[in-house]
Amino acid sequence: SIPIINKLYGEVTSPMYPKSYPNNYDETREIVVPQGYSVKLVFWQFDLEPSEGCFYDYVKISADKKDLGRFCGQLGSTPGNPPSQKEFVSQGNQMWLTFHTDFSNEENGTTIFYKGFLAYFQAVDMDECAAQDNAIEENSNLGLRCEHLCHNSVGSYFCSCRPGYKLQADKHSCRAECSNELFTETSGYISSLEYPQAYPPDMRCNYSIRVDRGLTINLKFLEPFEIDDHQQVHCPYDQLQVYANGKSFGEYCGRKSPGVMDTSSNAVDVLFFTDESGDSGGWKIHYTTEVIKCPQPKALDKFTVINNLQPQYQFRDYLIVTCKLGYQLTEGNQQLKSFTSVCQDDGTWHRPMPYCKIVNCGAPKKLPNGNFKYLTKEGGNTYKAEILYTCQEPYYRMVNGEENAKYTCSAQGTWKDKHGNEKIPRCLPVCGKPVNPVVENQR
């Protein structure tokens, strides 16, 4: 008969269905669905001549080199062996349906008409992974099997390997491969392959931990710790090395765990070399990170004010420094309007602490036709120093009519009067006041 090939679904009927099928008929239909699918067959109508052991007329289903059953009779009746509502599913992608009839369909001399059968088939995804497991249980050889992990997909499957192993060219087997392992999470676990079981031989492993700048990596070696060792020679067989900031923290083997390591770095490399033999359990590291911290800022003088001082400063924290009133932020010889310093990723402040220098107003301006004298320390021009301007009386007088004007060195570094004016007073000539006016005594 004509095989049904590569259809995902369809129907199979007896010849001339739903009319009575012919006598002396024998046909086998092959149903083939695409690779990766199984064939599922369900009978919707079944009306064949019943007989003991389905000796006369029958439908036989076979798949995977096995007979799945031989059926005759009618659905819902006892005589014969009807398939009822039973589903037939192949393990492979092929199924055979054999239809056989004898020379007649008579009972007690009366010809009886049987409709035959109507069956639907469909392609259903094959779970190759489960099939492989079953094959192991059944000790059968069903092609290659995934060595580590099997993943089913519609119409197919694929294999993968556990961390530290690499899928080989045959797409099924795995080999240890740990020469370029990268860890970028802020915390995690790293261990030798198969830990705490014996690690594989001939490995050249490099586990790199790379986290953001401003973080430091801490390593904690967990128990058990076991690497092949020798009593006289230091780590001749297998050895674990830890590198950070370009320097080695040491070479480790034996059963004594290195414990806890503060690497003070955001980049750590753990190297693990094994020889061709050994059965030690290996090692496991729990790595964590913490944000780098800067030294606690300290004021250089008692006039410096660190705004909102925190008990601890870490990467990206910043501090703002101001001065008490009358003092000026100074960095080296330069006066600053403001000061902010940021904690850097290397744990240092991006600029050193400034100091606060008392504000100096400079020498007071000379008053034309007048003078000034210090009310505070002579020549002292710093914050809160006071001077008194006077005009050369009686020939000059201040514009505002006052005898003098007191100016104070302000926090802004300028001399200001009691009204906050920076402009110095003016001494204007006094008119019409001769010191020796005409006096005529003779009357």
Partner: protein, 241 residues
């Protein structure tokens, strides 16, 4: 000054001595300005000569001494725009300002005079002092002289001019002072000096007039520029302060 007295140092500390087209006077305003008459800079009946030096002296009552103290260089000359040099008989607006190159240091012998602020300084009979280094008994004086003169009424001034058949204009910007019965007056060389009146209420001396013109000397009244009329102009030119 005719029939005057010698001034002592400090009597008239505002008195300036000028030498331009001839001897003249002036008065110190503030510490940088000289108030004077326009006609000593642009004299009537003669054309102003270019590059005429304007020599100003301050600070003494003796001509030799005051000149020893040095010329006070002039930065700017401001003639009142209403003054007409070519109108021989009209001394209207006879007022000018000289801005000195440098402020002068004030002291007991060098002080400014005040400007008037009301008409009470021009009441008839109010006595003021006129000072100057001008003619005294037909000859120039070596020392500063002064004379006290009473303010005359405008009516008397005009009548006197009429009696003299004078063609001189007597404007409202002028006043006259003097006493017909006395031979006291300012004279040539005193021009530009001021008529100073004591403001008793404010205890200060005020320049109410500028020596301007007269018909001869000591023959009646002398005529003065009425400063009150020019206070606004002066303030505008030298600044309010």
């Amino acid at each position: 000054i005719i029939a005057g007295k010698s001034a002592q140092l400090g009597n008239f500390p505002w008195q300036a001595f000028t030498n331009i087209y001839g001897r003249g006077g002036g008065a110190l305003l503030g510490d940088r300005w000289i108030l004077t008459a326009a006609h000593i800079l642009h004299p009537k009946d003669s054309s102003s000569l270019p590059n005429t030096s304007i020599d100003v002296f301050l600070g003494h009552t003796n001509v030799d001494e005051i000149m020893k103290m040095g010329i006070r260089p002039v930065r700017r000359v401001i003639i009142h725009p209403g003054y007409n040099q070519n109108d021989t008989n009209n001394f209207d607006n006879d007022i000018a300002l000289l801005e000195l190159e440098n402020s002068v240091p004030l002291g007991p012998h060098l002080l400014p005079i005040c400007l008037p602020d009301n008409e009470t300084f021009y009441e008839k009979g109010l006595v003021g002092y006129v000072s100057g280094f001008g003619i005294e008994s037909q000859k120039l004086s070596d020392d500063l002289k002064f004379v006290s003169l009473p303010m005359a009424s405008s009516k008397n001034c005009q009548n006197w001019l009429n009696e003299k058949n004078s063609k001189q204009v007597f404007s409202t910007n002028m006043f006259c002072a003097g006493d017909k019965t006395r031979k006291q007056d300012a004279c040539q060389g005193d021009s530009g000096g001021v008529f100073a009146v004591k403001d008793e209420s404010g205890d200060r001396w005020v320049a109410t007039g500028i020596v301007s013109w007269g018909i001869g000397c000591s023959k009646g009244y002398g005529f003065y520029t009425k400063v009150l009329k020019y206070v606004d102009w002066i303030k505008k030119e030298i600044g309010e302060s």
